[in-house]
């Protein structure tokens, strides 16, 4: 994994092309595909929920920042091309600029950011069918000069559709993080996301319970609006590690809306500490998963 930038990249090209007999060459291993698409990226972590509106993007952004605060090199790819919200949460005003080997992501609070919202004027909607989504994923991976990163966090859109499938097909992912709120309505959909990743052989690193409870600022009463502990229980049932819980908190919402996420704005606040604890648990899971993957090895194609 060198930072060698010489030579043409074949990353932005579609991986599979139909047509006449291709010239014989050894098939790339999944690791080589990743190497060609995102050469300097060590771990790729999709964040998914199944259901929308559970706070995936807020959790993704704060985890990314918490990882960066601990000294890691972090990028965040906003995979929600229809409803991109990472730039808003991170308060990004700049646009990516063209570099010699692809688009240079915007840097904000020490992390690199790519989002569809950079290419979409405000007040316009993106109305696309599947194949375009797949191309966008190609571009976000191979057409962006991510450089050397320890973690690339991918904030996925809700659902189990084109974007999720494309991502799982293009590169071997380190493992997914599932975000859910603790009520059944969300957990049942989150479970489907879990099954999707299992089907695509992407390990699940753990589950995060968002909007876990509400601490009343005036009386201190703890209200479990969506019922607490549901994610932990679901995690136990499915054999998925529980990474931690984030309270439903007005300040987290305010911080996100004004582009200064809680981990940046009040790093020692209980809310920020909750995110940092989750990031810490996540790193431990990533490391054990990476060992597991290294032990079992990736499928070698020798045909």
């Amino acid at each position: 994994m060198s930072a060698d930038r010489s030579g043409p990249k074949r990353g932005s090209k579609p991986l599979a092309m139909a047509g006449g007999p291709p010239p014989p060459r050894p098939a790339p291993t999944p690791a080589e595909v990743r190497e060609s698409l995102i050469p300097g990226v060590k771990y790729v972590i999709p964040v998914a929920s199944g259901k929308g509106g559970v706070g995936k993007s807020t959790v993704s952004a704060n985890i990314a920042l918490a990882l960066a605060a601990d000294g890691a090199r972090v990028g965040i790819m906003d995979g929600d091309v229809y409803g991109p919200s990472i730039p808003l949460i991170l308060g990004v005003k700049d646009k990516p600029t063209p570099g010699p080997n692809g688009l240079l992501p915007v840097e904000r609070y020490g992390i690199k950011v790519i989002s569809m919202s950079f290419f979409l004027p405000p007040g316009e909607a993106l109305i696309w069918r599947g194949p375009m989504l797949s191309k966008t994923i190609d571009q976000f991976l191979g057409g962006v000069e991510w450089g050397e990163l320890d973690y690339l966090i991918v904030d996925l859109p809700p659902g189990t559709g084109d974007i999720q499938l494309s991502l799982c097909q293009k590169i071997p992912l380190t493992g997914a993080v599932i975000v859910s709120t603790p009520q059944d309505a969300a957990l049942r959909v989150a479970e489907r996301a879990v099954f999707m990743f299992q089907k695509l052989k992407c390990p699940i690193l753990g589950i995060v319970e968002n909007m876990s409870h509400f601490l009343c600022p005036s009386c201190g009463n703890r209200e479990e609006i969506f019922g607490s502990g549901g994610c932990r229980k679901t995690g136990e049932r499915l054999g998925i590690a529980f990474l931690g819980e984030i309270p439903l908190d007005t300040q987290i919402r305010i911080d996100s809306d004004r582009g200064r996420p809680t981990v940046i704005d009040a790093p020692e606040s209980p809310q920020a500490l909750a995110f940092r604890q989750i990031a810490e648990n996540l790193v431990a899971r990533i490391e054990s998963q990476a060992k597991e993957t290294a032990r079992s090895g990736e499928t070698r194609i020798t045909f």
Binding site: K170, I204, F303
Partner: protein, 118 residues
């Protein structure tokens, strides 16, 4: 918390390679081995051109597949499947590892590989 159903997934190939000049051998991480004769694997193609998306019925007509059809190249698809580039120009099939396992033609698995009897 590591060896859990969340992470312990069904068998994955250690290697997808040649059994001989044209046939495909899959060596699984549970030490099982599957040997797919080239043409049988072509006839098993799960893509939407070969299998009806509505009924699951096989549309591919075996007599239209050349007798000597063979894989020219095999590529990995993420962590879960392979894509085979065939000598008859076909390449749209994504064979998931689970699908290959389900269709293992070995006597132990006792799954006839003939796709005609679906």
């Amino acid at each position: 918390m590591v060896d859990s159903p969340g992470n312990r997934i069904s068998p994955v190939p250690v290697e997808v390679g040649r059994a001989n000049l044209h046939d495909v051998r899959v060596r699984w991480d549970d030490r099982h081995e599957s040997l797919f004769p080239a043409r049988d694997l072509r006839l098993l193609c799960p893509c939407a051109v070969c299998v009806s998306e509505d009924t699951g019925e096989r549309i591919l007509v075996p007599t239209q597949v050349p007798v000597g059809v063979q894989p020219l190249r095999i590529e990995a698809v993420g962590r879960y499947a392979i894509q085979v580039f065939w000598s008859d120009g076909h390449s749209s099939g994504i064979y998931s590892f689970d699908y290959l396992m389900e269709n293992c033609p070995c006597p132990l698995c006792r799954r006839p590989v003939s796709p005609g009897n679906s």
